[in-house]
Chain length 207, copies 2
């Protein structure tokens, strides 16, 4: 049992039909096939608007003290770490905290500017969570994506709070939140309509 | 081209993972398997609360001048109409208007009390919509379910406005809204958080 007293939160942007990304993710298309209409940008369009207006949802996203992401979210490199890749977010990533990347291939920790260090975890989601909680002190741990990683944590009952940002479009295919996850009891904590997105926060009902 | 000047609206209650009903719908379980925890009731729990409080979403649901539903929503009878079945809603259904039921099996119109008449349409969704629009005069036509029917109308580009009522639970299996529907452009018209449900209204962006 970790002594961390924070929550395990997960904030993620989804389409109205529940997709987090389209199929066929590549380095040039980090959100998958864009079908020629730039939907990857449209899915996340709310973010820059909200950031400009200093909305609460943005502050909440980066308020965690440690982060966990899947390897596909970290980057397009597959298999061994056979080339330089330090994430999509440049030299000074927005996390300013330890980020634990789930992978099957060991790699030394990668410190970045501004307090972000990427740690590579090869022994599974529980281990990554334990390490993140130890690093977070009394702060929250945020599971930030992609869908496969979030779904594994949901299925294992390890998430306390789910913050959905529902964008006004459907994708019809791709990586879907809740795919393969057994039925969950949710308590609606709050919901808020912004101009181009609906924010809904759920508490996971355990047991 | 119909002369109807109303909108084609669709209001439907979904789980947070987009399901309208569980698998294995029967007469005893109109919302499908309940996994022993009464989720069919929980999915629709918001409705009685909202009705008690005369919320706008309830008035909106019954404001249409004609309704369209699929046969599975109308009832559990499959194949020929070989036994008496006049819907789940008793002698005085809440529609008070013509209701067009999509089926492969012809049946004479069934008048009910209070102005509801069930009409059985065997020649497809476009025909049902044309008949409903003719009956609606200048009023709206509402597509009210189930998922398969709504998805057919969405895929055909025949819905103007989609009103989702998102209940706080996930199902993990069943009949899913948007399943098999090509990507849709949506415009978020409004969203409102009630205590146990989030209402989101989208306008369908055509072309």
């Amino acid at each position: 049992m970790s002594e961390n007293t924070g929550k395990v939160v997960c904030g993620i942007t989804i389409s109205a039909d529940g997709y987090v990304a389209g199929p066929n993710q590549t380095e040039e298309r980090p959100f998958g096939d864009d079908r020629g209409d730039g939907w990857g940008d449209r899915l996340h369009a709310w973010y820059s608007e909200a950031a400009e207006e200093n909305e609460a949802e943005i502050a909440e996203m980066i308020a965690a003290s440690a982060f966990i992401m899947g390897r596909n979210m970290f980057g397009p490199v597959r298999g061994e770490w056979d080339r330089e890749w330090n994430g999509w977010w440049g030299d000074d990533p927005p996390y300013h905290a330890p980020v634990f990347v789930l992978t099957h291939h060991p790699r030394a920790p990668q410190p970045m500017e501004g307090g972000t260090t990427y740690h590579f975890v090869t022994d599974g989601i529980e281990s990554a969570l334990a390490q993140a909680q130890a690093a977070a002190g009394d702060g929250d741990v945020a599971i930030i994506g992609g869908a496969n990683t979030v779904n594994q944590y949901l299925a294992a009952g390890l998430i306390d709070e789910l913050r959905l940002h529902i964008s006004p479009l459907t994708l019809g295919a791709g990586a879907r939140l809740f795919e393969g996850v057994p039925p969950l009891g949710l308590e609606q904590v709050r919901a808020r309509a912004a101009s181009t997105v609906t924010h809904v926060t759920y508490r996971l009902v355990k047991g």
